[in-house]
């Protein structure tokens, strides 16, 4: 029988990625999960068909508020692929810097939220505090702290100035000791180990079956990273490594993201040192008929844009696939069989946006009655951490 579900928590179309997770529980154990998406569906693919190729860059920038450059990045890669030309060298370096700055701020954002769900509100406040300087860099470079509007088919929209580089480098280098601190806080804390190790495990086979991407896949020992596998922009011109962990649990996902912060800072510093002088835009006039596929490794994994052009001024078809489309579906595997108090952090471990967890409800398996909402679940998760910590102090 079809039944209606009322979303829980503050529900607002301005928030990112509203998804609805309905957990079916038997006692303390999750026995099934329903995932519903589409609450904020805007059919951007259709709107793109009515915009010019230049305007589409701005349109796709508005798909996600957190990783706002990921979609434009994949889109300009698709145009480059369609035309069969490479954008100017300097533009490729600038794109790389913007893409990596975004990864740094996005991973810090996730780290803060994960801390909050586990009851470590200090980690939450710290992570978001140290995210601020990264947004300051964006403000300096692009004039905006979000929606930077830096990408452009055939290049970038505005140049970076060499006189800003020393300040940008210093700001990023100052961030490294802070990341060290987070690394210590996660890797050396026995309570975090107890809460996250072996929880919400995705095996390599699950990763294959659900075609999971990004840090979620890399935490299960599957070293896929578009930046390395199918290099674009300046990723093949700098030295860096793909971070993998073998556990597949929440702990591994956290470790992958923290270690990736170092790699991203490393990539940006190298790009700033190596950035060649020259034009930033190849001045594309017309887009000929044809097809192009662009990919970008966003903070959450592979973004795919497929463009079909018919010689007109706007795309004949524009297909967009975001990484969470693949990752969120894998929750079905990760959360079943786990306890309700671990559900929050497992669902958050694939790094969807915060409002996703606000939309959870716990339903009794036998009676079908609603027992808890999103806020109760966060509280339950925080209480579990506190109990483990108290137990350790007493023993």
């Amino acid at each position: 029988m079809a039944h209606k579900i009322i979303p829980i928590g503050p529900y607002h179309p301005l928030q990112d990625e509203p998804e609805f997770f309905k957990l079916h529980v038997d006692g303390e154990t999750v026995v099934d999960i329903d995932i519903e998406i589409g609450y904020n569906h805007r059919l951007i693919e259709k709107i793109a068909e009515s915009k010019s190729f230049d305007q589409v860059t701005f349109l796709v920038e508005r798909i996600c508020g957190i990783c706002s450059t990921s979609h434009p990045f994949a889109y300009v890669n698709a145009i480059d692929d369609l035309l069969g030309v490479k954008s100017p060298e300097r533009a490729l370096y600038i794109r790389t810097v913007i893409g990596e700055l975004e990864r740094v701020h996005s991973h810090l954002l996730w780290l803060g939220l994960a801390g909050h769900f586990l009851g470590y509100n200090t980690v939450w406040m710290w992570a978001w505090r140290y995210r601020e300087p990264v947004l300051d860099i964006f403000e300096k470079v692009a004039g905006n702290r979000q929606n930077y509007a830096m990408m452009k088919p055939g290049g970038v929209r505005r140049d970076m100035f060499e006189e800003d580089f020393p300040w940008i480098k210093k700001t990023l280098k100052d961030l490294i000791p802070k990341v060290d601190m987070f690394k210590g806080a996660v890797m050396d804390d026995p309570v975090i180990h107890a809460r996250t190790e072996g929880v919400g495990v995705l095996t390599k086979e699950d990763v294959r079956q659900y075609c999971v991407v990004g840090p979620t896949a890399r935490a299960s020992g599957v070293g896929i990273d578009i930046r390395k596998d199918d290099p674009y922009a300046a990723y093949d011109k700098v030295e860096w490594k793909v971070i993998t962990q073998e556990g597949g649990d929440v702990y591994s996902k956290a470790v992958v993201r923290i270690l990736e912060l170092y790699e991203s800072i490393n990539i940006i510093l190298q790009c700033l040192d190596k950035m060649p002088k020259g034009p930033i835009d190849s001045g594309i006039k017309d887009i000929p008929p044809g097809e192009g596929i662009g990919r970008h490794e966003a903070p959450r994994g592979e973004v795919v844009h497929y463009i079909m052009a018919d010689g007109g001024n706007s795309p004949a078809r524009h297909k967009i696939r975001a990484p969470s489309y693949m990752n969120v579906a894998s929750n079905k595997k990760a959360v079943i069989g786990e306890s309700i108090s671990d559900a929050t952090i497992i669902l958050a471990a694939v790094d969807p946006c915060y409002c996703c967890t606000e939309r959870m409800a716990v339903v009794d398996y036998k009676t079908g009655k609603k027992l808890m909402d999103g806020q109760d679940l966060v509280r339950l998760s925080q209480e579990k951490t506190r109990k483990i910590a108290e137990k350790r102090i007493r023993s």
């Binding site: 998406i37 294959r208 896929i224 596998d229 199918d230 097809e291 795919v304 297909k319 696939r321």
Partner: protein
């Protein structure tokens, strides 16, 4: 070498059912195949070459609906698109859900956006559109 071997294998396995092959660039290959061999070629890519199913794009070309199944062979950075052309009004193709679970959502999406029926997909309900969306209205069709 693996790159050439994959192209050759798809060509041999498709035989007469290969309609067109385009190598757009070093890492982007397009194969247009008849829909009856789609499960076979997809199985070859997924199981034997360990390719990752990336997504599928449905395109309305007025006379037909094309579906491009995108596979990523990550260790060599290759992106293969299998294109099947479904002539209107017979918009039906085999579901790939039996092969990999990640086909579930994208098939639901193409079903509601373009009106393609995926044979063998048991749960073709609405994914993104609301449940009471009027039947027969497909937002990504050209005539919408």
């Amino acid at each position: 070498m693996k790159r050439e071997a994959i192209i050759e294998n798809i060509k041999v396995r498709s035989g007469k059912d290969l309609v067109e092959f385009t190598d757009k660039s070093k890492n982007r290959f397009y194969f247009t195949i008849n829909k009856k061999i789609l499960p076979q070629i997809a199985r070859y890519l997924f199981n034997e070459e360990k390719a990752r199913f990336s997504t599928a794009s449905g395109v309305d070309t007025r006379k037909a609906v094309e579906i491009l199944y995108h596979f990523s062979v990550d260790d060599i950075g290759l992106y293969i698109s299998l294109r099947v052309i479904l002539e209107k009004p017979n918009l039906e193709v085999d579901s790939l859900l039996g092969l990999f679970k990640c086909a579930e959502w994208i098939e639901m999406e193409i079903h509601e956006m373009l009106g393609v029926n995926f044979k063998g997909h048991e749960n073709l309900k609405h994914l993104l559109l609301k449940d009471d969306w009027p039947e027969g209205n497909y937002p990504l069709r050209r005539d919408m």
